[in-house]
């Protein structure tokens, strides 16, 4: 786990020296991909919860989505910085991925609102799980919708200039990708452990009082 953090912090930026605006690519894209599988994992756990009815999946689903939202927010921030660096604006509706992430970010923020407005218990677990499942269905549908929406919102599509990925760049990208994935996994485990300890502590306190 320590190694994963070291890799994420040092190895990826060290190799990333192919131009200033390209550099963020190694952080931005892996973060975005990681956010996707966090959402996917959250939905998978949610499905397991509804299927099997085991309570532990609720916390796992919640933590995965929490990580996904954090990575999603980071994607928006790094994407915005990248947009400023290479296109000269902080925000552009041209980029499908950014718009998709904004939609998903709003969706998963609503997920937290839903979760925190319900009293704790199986009902909350199920409601959150159902909403999390809606999220994964929303990802491809929104992607399609945003692709189509380009036609009438922006008739000209933006083609990004820049070189094809060479061998070293691809290697760097893979290292960064692996590092961010590991980082996400570590954070997931840490948060899960923290939340479980929290819950156990609360139960103990209730028992004692």
């Amino acid at each position: 786990m320590g190694l994963a953090l070291l890799m994420a912090l040092f190895v990826a930026p060290e190799d990333a020296d192919q131009g200033v605006s390209q550099r963020i690519f190694y952080i931005h894209v892996p973060i975005a991909l990681t956010a996707y599988y966090c959402f996917g994992l959250g939905a998978w756990k949610a499905l397991r919860l509804l299927w099997r009815g085991e309570e532990r999946y609720d916390l796992e689903s919640y933590v995965a989505i929490h990580q996904g939202t954090i990575f999603g927010a980071l994607t928006l921030i790094t994407g915005s910085i990248w947009a400023k660096a290479s296109w000269g604006v902080w925000w552009t509706w041209d980029s499908n991925q950014l718009v998709l992430f904004l939609t998903l970010f709003l969706f998963y923020c609503a997920y937290f609102m839903l979760r925190f407005s319900l009293p704790e218990g199986p009902r909350r677990a199920r409601s959150s799980a159902v909403y999390a499942l809606f999220g994964v269905a929303l990802i491809p549908v929104s992607f399609l919708a945003i692709r189509l929406a380009e036609d009438f919102i922006h008739p000209t599509t933006f083609t990004r200039e820049g070189p094809q990925m060479t061998g070293t760049m691809f290697a760097t990208f893979c290292v960064a990708w692996a590092a961010v994935t590991l980082l996400a996994y570590v954070l997931y485990r840490v948060e899960l452990a923290g939340k479980r300890a929290d819950r156990d502590l609360r139960e103990l306190r209730e028992l004692l009082s």
Binding site: L50, T103, L104, L106, F107, C109, A110, M113, L114, S117, L118, P122, R123, R126, S127, A129, V130, Y131, L133, F134, A137, L138, V141, S142, L144, A145, I146, L148, A149, D151, F152
Partner: protein
């Protein structure tokens, strides 16, 4: 066949409650008309028809939200939902009944709003109308499930728009696209796809929203 008769009975119940109390529909009608009037003043002169189509969709989504916010209120006020869940019928029939009743309200509101829109702003062609119908299906299917989710929480009026609007974005894209794009068929396909995916998902997951354990 009992499933369908359950659904029909539930839809009839909702419609009858509305006919007697007249809580939702007059509000939706007034709301959509006032929205259109507000849009007339919000749109600067010479903005063109495209902007008006966009605003029509804003009006439709918010009118639907108004109806959806009221959708489960009678059930919660009188504790009907618990009895419905206990009743010997498939739980998804409750969702389908509510979806159909909401659809009737929304269509009734649009029966006034769309002619008003044509009168005030711009004409609507067959593709645009098909887009409205398909999007209505999606709005009601997803909306009645999300409204049931929101109704269980605190501050449900606050929660529903937050839960619903991100899910409605593809519908708005499809609806606006069908109205203004020369190649509207693709947008209708998108809407149909959305309806199919989310209707199946809502149908399958509704049971988990209303049952306790």
């Amino acid at each position: 066949m009992t499933y369908l008769s359950d659904v029909a009975a539930l839809t009839r119940k909702d419609l009858r409650v509305e006919l007697r109390a007249r809580d939702t529909l007059p509000a939706m009608l007034l709301f959509v008309l006032s929205t259109l009037v507000v849009f007339h003043f919000a749109l600067p002169e010479g903005t063109g028809e495209s902007a008006a189509y966009g605003l029509l969709w804003v009006a439709i989504v918010f009118t639907a939200l108004l109806g959806l916010a009221r959708a489960w209120v009678p059930e919660h006020e009188h504790g009907v939902l618990d009895s419905l869940v206990l009743a010997p019928c498939d739980r998804s029939a409750i969702w389908l009944g509510k979806t159909l009743a909401t659809l009737v309200f929304l269509l009734a509101a649009q029966a006034v709003a769309l002619p008003a829109f044509v009168l005030f702003f711009a004409p609507l062609d067959a593709t645009a109308l098909a887009g409205v119908l398909l999007a209505d299906l999606g709005i009601c299917a997803v909306g009645s499930l999300v409204a049931a989710l929101a109704a269980a929480g605190r501050a449900r009026e606050l929660l529903l728009p937050l839960l619903f609007l991100p899910l409605a974005i593809p519908l708005v894209v499809g609806g606006v696209g069908a109205a203004i794009s020369p190649d509207g068929g693709r947008y209708l396909l998108l809407l149909a796809l959305y309806d199919a995916i989310f209707a199946v998902l809502s149908w399958a997951s509704f049971e988990y929203v209303v049952t306790e354990s």
